[in-house]
């Protein structure tokens, strides 16, 4: 094993690809921790954030509140304000004999406008623009968030009006490092979660296909004859179709969903493992240690699993590594074509597909960054698999 590690480390590319692959694995495992937002939480999304370029800040849009205010004997009462609003209260303070300051609490909220409607005759709002017909006064960007209502004569003791408060949009300090997509999703978070999905799909699908393929390959190698012929013709049949076509057909029948994508990839990939396992196992079965095991009357299951399988594993593991990469790219292709994962759980392929429609309007970031990540991931895993294959090839052994 030490020797194997040393040979592996002789190639810098291989070491780099191993590190990159591990980094992606860590990203996948810790995506919920390191991602700044949860892209699957639809309640966090707001359309105002849609299609923001790289490094743009997240902006909370202004809100509009309509509140009926009643002032009696210098105290203001008002209807309940909606929860979570930036404005917590409406104030009304007398500022002299003939004047009343209507404002908001907290006072430092940035207001876009404050409109007072329905003042009784004789009252007006200082410095406001009046609606040509209606008794509506609008103060644009009021200082301190206050509008001063003045009376021509004595200020009535009871007054009631409608205040329409528009708060200005404000930055939250959160920055979309890789921009947003058309739903206002943070691309960085979406990519991290996309890596998670790709890695899960790659490992689970390739792993299950491997177990299935090894089982059938060993069965074919041991039984020979008709069983072997049936299994291997099924393998030929599967290999005769392009992977993407089979995936499309399976998903067209089953519908969307991560489990269905995994199933489709297993359908596509088991045949590779079955063929490789069978050929390696048949070579191993011809060796004398298998005859020795038969002479020792060990059961066929024991011979295959304990004696033959461990000697087949090196080749199968190489295939597994390469097939992870192809499972990832198949999942992305299917998602790109719109039959893979649901829209609410974007994988890298779906992110690329989403950005595709905006790429000609110079909103390149939606497709570009998931594309780069997908490329890096597949290249890294493939290089890793290539290196393992080289090390496993006795003809290249030094």
């Amino acid at each position: 094993m030490d020797e194997f590690g040393r040979h592996f480390a002789e190639s810098r590319v291989a070491v780099a690809s191993l590190l990159v692959s591990l980094a992606f694995l860590l990203c996948a495992i810790f995506a919920p921790v390191i991602a700044p937002t949860n892209p699957y939480d639809l309640s966090q999304l707001q359309l105002a954030d849609a299609l923001k370029p790289v490094d743009s800040p997240k902006v909370v849009p202004g809100e509009e509140l309509r509140v009926r205010v009643t002032v009696a004997n210098g105290t203001a009462t008002f209807e309940d304000l909606p929860e979570g609003s930036v404005i917590k209260a409406i104030t009304a303070e007398a500022c002299g004999e003939k004047c009343l300051d209507a404002g908001v609490e907290p006072a430092d909220v940035d207001l876009e406008s404050l409109q007072i409607r329905g003042l009784p005759p004789g009252l007006s709002v200082e410095g406001a623009s009046k609606h040509p017909v209606q008794p509506w006064w609008t103060v644009a960007a009021p200082a301190d968030g206050k509008a001063r209502i003045v009376a021509e004569g004595a200020f009535p003791s009871d007054v009631s009006f409608l205040a329409i408060v528009k708060s200005a949009p404000h930055e939250t300090g959160f920055v979309f490092r890789l921009g947003t997509d058309s739903f206002g999703r943070d691309m960085l978070s979406a990519i991290l979660y996309g890596i998670r999905i790709s890695v899960i799909v790659g490992l689970v699908a390739a792993g299950t296909a491997m177990v299935l393929g090894i089982g059938l390959g060993l069965l074919a190698a041991w039984m020979g004859g008709t069983v072997d012929a049936i299994i291997m013709r099924a393998v030929d049949f599967m290999l005769g179709f392009p992977a993407l076509l089979v995936g499309l057909a399976v998903l067209a029948i089953l519908g969307n969903g991560i489990d269905k994508v995994v199933f489709a990839i297993i359908i596509v990939q088991w045949s590779y493992y079955a063929r490789t396992t069978r050929s390696v196992a048949m070579a191993e079965l011809g060796k004398e240690y298998v005859e020795a095991a038969k002479t020792l009357r060990l059961s066929p299951v024991r011979i295959m699993l304990r004696h033959v399988l461990p000697n087949c594993l090196p080749q199968v593991i190489v295939l597994f590594t390469l097939n992870i990469a192809s499972a990832i790219s198949l999942e992305s292709s299917l998602s790109f074509l719109g039959v893979g994962l649901p829209l609410t759980q974007p994988s890298l392929g779906m992110l690329i597909a989403n950005g595709y429609e905006f790429i000609f309007s110079q909103k390149y970031w939606i497709s570009l960054y998931p594309g780069i990540v997908l490329l890096a991931m597949i290249v890294a895993v493939n290089l890793l698999g290539d290196r393992l294959r080289d090390l496993n090839n006795p003809r290249l052994a030094r």
């Binding site: 004398e288 240690y289 005859e291 020795a292 095991a293 002479t295 020792l296």
Partner: protein, 329 residues
Amino acid sequence: MQQTILEVQDLSRSFRSGRDPLRRLADWLSGIEPPVVRAVENVTLSISPGETLGVVGESGCGKSTLARMIAGILPISSGRMRFRGEPYESLLSRKRDALKIQMVFQDPLSSLNPRLKVRDIIGEAAVVHGIVPRSKIRDYVADLLARVGLPPEAAGRYPHQFSGGQRQRVGIARALAVNPEILICDEAVAALDVSVQAQVINLFMDIKRDRGLTMVFISHDLGVIRHLCDRVAVMYLGRVVELAKTEDLFAAPTHPYTRMLLEGMPRISLKRREFLPIQGEIPSPLAPPSGCHFHPRCPIATQQCRQVRPELREMAPGHVHRCLNAVAS
């Protein structure tokens, strides 16, 4: 009559290519008879307990096929085998008793699973078949290792960490671990250096003496056979052509093939001697010659040899051969 431990009667094995049903269908449609290789043809032997039977012959004469059929790991095409009077089919159905026949293989490396430690290689079957409880396996393996002349530390190593001779000792220990009564050695020393060969042969003789093992020793090396065996069977192209006590065979070979083999045997002698290699190649077993298989290469072949298949004839008590024209030399 002496009791026999192993009786082989008319044992034959033919190999046929094209087991794949599609291939069979194609052959059937096109009317092609797939070629049949008769690797072993009508072999009849009987072995007494404690005896060592040598089987000798050129490559491809069916020695190893015979060994594997006797070991019960290759199905037979026709014929019968009995172990202590019991038919093989019923013997092999009881796994514990089927262990009575064990085998040592030719290639000391490929006959050991490279991924298992020596302890598992030797001890696995004994544990699986309940010969030794798992808790006692360390001592059991250490005993066996000591028996074949390996240190107890060897148990923790992998096969590739040993030399050829040591590997063969591991292979012998593996066979002994299940207490066999018959040990079949298929070219067990052929892959070893001559000096190591001698050590392993001595080990075989020690084991045989200690355990009273019956052995079938397959080799192409006449010197080894002469040294080790009580009786010798000479095979040519799937048939036993001569069977005799070792001293009789080496002193007075009757079949022309045996005589030519013995003449070709290297020996230490100051006399210059004629060396006549056996003419021609061993014929293809796919298309064996008619009549006596040896007739194309035989110096005393007659017209009759081309047509009549010779049967085993008894020359002297316990000395049989398969030749129409043979005379005692």
